[in-house]
Symmetry: C2
Subunit: 201 residues, 2 copies
């Protein structure tokens, strides 16, 4: 059985849990308390030197890190992976956008509220500015569209939903983004949708 090393409040981990559930793939969840430093301990670094969750452990022990790579690995044999070359590239484009221009600001602003002793507290105004810049790009793209790629629910929606739907926990008001709010509703209504703190039985 697949083993997922994860932390329930993590949007990066949630992406993988949501996809696994929607694809009906059974897995065992191993939880690590990121805020308490669990992913910086030698046992975890021996598993994955990058020291970040999620980490997917395959049946043969092989370990995969980086949520975007894990999503693609899991999706590749399923209907959620686009058949067309351009849509695959557009999916990857949004996965990279999420990791470079969205998560480092929107997720980190939220994390700083969970970790008040983190030395990055002074970065908050900059994180809010950049997070809103990412939301504005998403709003512009979604204007007149229902989903991010090919007008079908896909990995880009899963990846961007993870931290966008909890952006208010980081101090982001989503009121000025009506297309994002409509898209969040649509993602929530997908078959097999589960909330961020979902864990398998």
């Amino acid at each position: 059985m697949l083993i997922l090393h994860d932390y329930l409040p993590s949007g990066n981990g949630y992406k993988v849990r949501l996809l696994l559930h929607q694809l009906g793939i059974p897995f065992r969840l191993v939880e690590h308390d990121v805020v308490a430093g669990a992913t910086r301990r030698p046992e975890f670094l021996a598993l994955s030197p990058v020291g970040k969750i999620p980490v997917l452990q395959l049946q043969d022990g092989t370990v995969l890190s980086e949520s975007g790579a894990i999503l693609c690995y899991l999706a590749v044999d399923s209907v959620i992976w686009p058949a067309e070359r351009l849509e695959r590239a557009q999916t990857l484009q949004w996965l990279f956008f999420e990791q470079y221009s969205h998560e480092p600001h929107i997720a980190v602003a939220r994390f700083l509220r969970m970790a008040p002793d983190d030395p990055r507290q002074a970065d908050l105004p900059r994180l809010l500015d950049r997070g809103h810049a990412a939301l504005a790009i998403m709003e512009q793209h979604l204007t007149g569209r229902r989903y991010f790629v090919g007008e079908r629910y896909g990995l880009a929606d899963i990846a961007l939903y993870a931290y966008t739907h909890v952006a208010p926990e980081g101090g982001f008001d989503l009121e000025p983004y009506p297309w994002i709010r409509a898209w969040l509703e649509l993602v929530r209504s997908e078959p097999g949708h589960v909330p961020i703190d979902w864990r398998p039985n």
Copy 2:
């Protein structure tokens, strides 16, 4: 013909130029002076709202951004794209690692030396710390290996070479990383290798 919107000193752009050259794909280069703010101007944002190079414009006008997505789009029909599902995921893992844990520190430290008026100058010590953490992870992975994935030259090598080989320009001493230095030499010796400031005729 493909059009690549790019900036010669950019490692992100270089990844795409290097791959296009090694795959023998002809393209037209359109240069934008990032340091002078060219990618923040309305004309560029109309092309690509994220406001970053590289941007690949396909024959039908479709635009792709994010260097990692462009690399995968271009490589997918070629021998450089692994045939095996796990190696594809491992390739993506390193592409995401590069964009999340490497480029934002190593490339930005280098950029700050080119742009002395950038308000992020105070971040330099933190960028150096985090950049060295990324280099240490690469060194550990390369120990006993020649390339990043499957012991063959691939997209992960191209993506990580781009900013690692110019890391000294950002203040990173590569002396403590013998496996990285051997790998840099190996990448440089690949057929069709060109330097970062290469442009097509």
